[in-house]
Structures are given as structure tokens and as C-alpha cells.
Amino acid sequence: MKKISRRQFLGMTTKAGAATVFAGIFAPSAASMLGLGGVAEATTKKIKPFTFAVLTDAHLYDIADHKFDHILEKAVSDVNSIRPRPDFVLYAGDLGQSGKKDELLKGKRILDKLKMPYKIIPGEHDYYLDMGKAWRGLFGDEHWSFNHNGVHFIGMNSILVPDFWTLKGLTPKERMGMMEELECHNCGAWGVGEKQLDWLARDVKNVSPHTPVIIMTHSPLWDYYPRWNFQTYDAPQIRETLRKFDKVISIHGHVHQVVYNEIGNMRSCGLLSTSWPWPYPPVELEYPHIKQRRADPGDFEDGLGSHDIALDADFGGTVHWREFSDLLPDNIKKGLKV
């Protein structure tokens, strides 16, 4: 991407401000979900600066007064306290633990306390009991896109695996039980699948290459540690489809940790959960200094948190991992420029 210098930018501010396309105004529905934005193309390199927040991986159990309920509630109040207020919130999957409708309902009740609209995608824990039926009933489409202040946002379901249950004659509960294990050795690798790849190609076809793009998936769009599905098998095709863009920011849940990578035009950020932190898998990281410290298992909020991402007029992003405790190294305490 050809960077516009700060000086150039200052000279252009008023013009840019006026020229910014206010595409995809949100129309929060009664359920405080985000309405689908218009598909109007953003036509300028400049965007209208704004902040949005991200939450993920609450893993709510169908158990009353569970500790994870309180952590999600805390994260929701934290997001509500962010100033300037985020324009909206994205949720990156694994709201429930075992795909039960009651877990998802509980999650929705808590998320509905957000003072801004939110948009959500499923994680494997939300899905494999009834293949996403309850989730879709509550939240709608598994993939979507919208435009906001000149940025094109995309959300996709990246946890689809080929059928491993029919031949084995597994019950829905058994299928879910296997998917609940991170090391599931019979479940196969996840991806978004052909249909969503086609949808993505159509979705971005008429979006100008200079439009900033932010894509959210549950799993990372690079091969981090396939054993734990810290991957998306058709991520190479996704990256190929998005290659025409100057810059793409990818955010993902599932890893329950701070992790960062750059691949082609994509900057990728892993997010904190509100349930438990995961250890780093036994592989070398490209950016080993962008990591969180070890958590104290006696402190149930350690290594967990919420996030806000601030975007400036040049689509420079600052990702803040808002960790509840103090586990961030100094270099990312004030945020990471992406």
C-alpha cells in the first residue's frame, strides 16, 4: 500500500472528510444486531476514523451462575466503558461450549447488554450439536459483509469440516463431544468451504482494491498449528481472493491468546478469550515478541479480556488487547500498530 504521509494527510483532511463515503449505515434491529450494510463501494483511500470492539470465545456452559458468565459480563461492561464509544462490536465465535441452545441464549442475553450493535460469526463450539441451527435462529447468517466509514467488513464461518459422523453413525451429541476437543484426531481440518469461497469472490468483485478490508473468522487464516485447528485449510484461496486489496486486516478467535502474523497483504491478529487462555503451541512464531505472558491458574481472569481496534484516516489500525490482568509485554501495552 502506498502510504500517505502524515503531512500529506493533514493537508487533505477536510477534503477527505467530505469525500468519505458513509456506506453501510448500521440499522440496529430490536435485537441490537447489526443490520447488513449496503454493498455500496467505498470510493476513497481515506476513511472516517472510528473504533470498533471485539469479543470472542466465551464458552458459556449450560450451568447457572458459571464463572464464564461473569467474565463475559465483565467484558461487555468493559466494552461499554470504552471512550470514544466503539461504533459497533464484532464477536468471533465460540459463544457457547457444547452448542446447546440455552448456552447461546444465555450468551445472547449478555451480549444484548452491549450499548452498540454487534455482529457475530459461529465457532465450532456453537455449531456441531445441530449444525448451526440454533445459532442461525438467534443470530442469522453465518457469513456477511458490510461497509462502515469506508471500510469493507467481512465475516465468515471457518469451522466447516467434511462429514466425519455419518459413516461412524455418531449421534449429534457424540459429534459435538469430539469437536469440543481441541486435539480431536478424527474431525479433520476446518475451512470455509466452496460455497463461502464463491460468495466471497462475488462479494468483493466490485469493491475497489483501495478499499480497506477487515475480515473476521473464527480460526486463523494462516497455518499456525493445524493439530489444534489453529488454521483454515482454504485460507490460501481466501488470501488469493483478497490479494487485490492494498491492505487487509484479519482478526480471529479460537486461539485464546495474543498472536500476530503478516502474510502477503494481510495482517493477522489473534484475540483473547473470556474463558481460558491457551498455551502457545510448540512452533516457532514469526513475531515472538507479540505474545502474552503466562497466566496464573489461580486467577480466573488472567489472560482474558476484550479488544478495541482504532482505525485512522489512512487505515492505520491500532489493536488494543484489553487484558483484564497485566500479562501484556510492554511493547504492546499501548496497542499494536497494524
Partner: protein
């Protein structure tokens, strides 16, 4: 000192006398090489314990809030089995891996602790330790260590 040695020697002799030739040979490390079958059987016994530990590791039954060890320790990682015994803040003393296993049952999982030498506890230890085979023993090392990388399967040979 001399006296104690003499006494234990006396004790050992009496065992030898009672249990006969087999014990005498193993006591002096002069047992002939084990047969292939024997080695395979011993190995299978260990793998059975590892598999049992794997099942426990993934079971919510050890706790009372739905969680299993594997929620937070996939493949037994971050148990840092090679760093024990060490001072552990939550234990508030120099403790063992088994004590930490019990602490994690009691605190993050709100469950009932296991007997330290129970079959279950040994199986849990076997699973986590086997997942770290080849990792150098490093008592008191302050690190979070992943298990041996696994490509596919359960991470150990199954019998």
C-alpha cells in the same frame, strides 16, 4: 550410620530368603535381557495407562463446572512436567507434579482431588509425561512448554 546399614542389609537378606532366586538376581541387576514379548507387554501396559490418562484428561467428571484439563491443557501442554518438583506459588511450597494436578482439579475445576498414588493419578501423570518425552529435565525452570508436536492421532501409539 553403620548400624542402619547393617540393619537394612539384614532386612534385604530376609526378603531374599523369603522370596527366592528371582529377587536376588533383580536386586543385583543381573537379570538376563528381557524377551521381545516381555518388552512389548511392558510397553503396552504403559500405553494403557497413558490412554487412561488421556481419557481422564478429557473428562469433565474430575471437576464440577463442566471443565476438563484438556480445555486448558491441550495435548497436556503447559503442565511443564519436566520442571517439577519446584516452588509453585499456588501451592505455596516446593511441590510435585501430582500436587499440581490435584490443585488444578480443586481450583480451576472445583472438583475432588485424587489419591496421590491412585491408578487415576498415575495415569494422568503418565499421559502428561509421555506427551513431553525427550524434553530435557529442567527442575525449577520458569517456562511454559508445549508437548511434543503432534501431526495426527492421539499423540501416542495405541494398543
Amino acid at each position: 550410620m553403620k548400624k542402619i546399614r547393617k540393619m537394612s542389609f539384614a532386612a534385604v537378606t530376609s526378603i531374599i530368603v523369603v522370596s527366592g532366586a528371582l529377587i536376588i538376581t533383580s536386586a543385583v541387576q543381573a537379570k538376563p535381557p528381557r524377551s521381545e514379548t516381555q518388552i512389548a507387554q511392558e510397553r503396552a501396559a504403559l500405553m494403557t495407562a497413558v490412554a487412561k490418562g488421556d481419557a481422564l484428561w478429557h473428562s469433565a467428571k474430575l471437576g464440577n463446572n463442566g471443565l476438563a484439563c484438556a480445555n486448558c491443557h491441550p495435548d497436556g501442554s503447559a503442565t511443564n512436567v519436566h520442571t517439577w518438583p519446584k516452588f509453585q506459588t499456588n501451592l505455596g511450597k516446593v511441590g510435585t507434579l501430582r500436587e499440581m494436578i490435584n490443585w488444578c482439579i480443586a481450583v480451576p475445576m472445583q472438583g475432588r482431588i485424587l489419591e496421590y498414588d491412585s491408578e487415576e493419578m498415575i495415569a494422568m501423570e503418565a499421559y502428561a509425561t509421555f506427551a513431553h518425552r525427550g524434553v530435557a529435565i529442567a527442575p525449577a525452570k520458569d517456562e511454559q512448554h508445549g508437548a511434543v508436536p503432534v501431526k495426527s492421532g492421539p499423540g501416542y501409539p495405541r494398543h
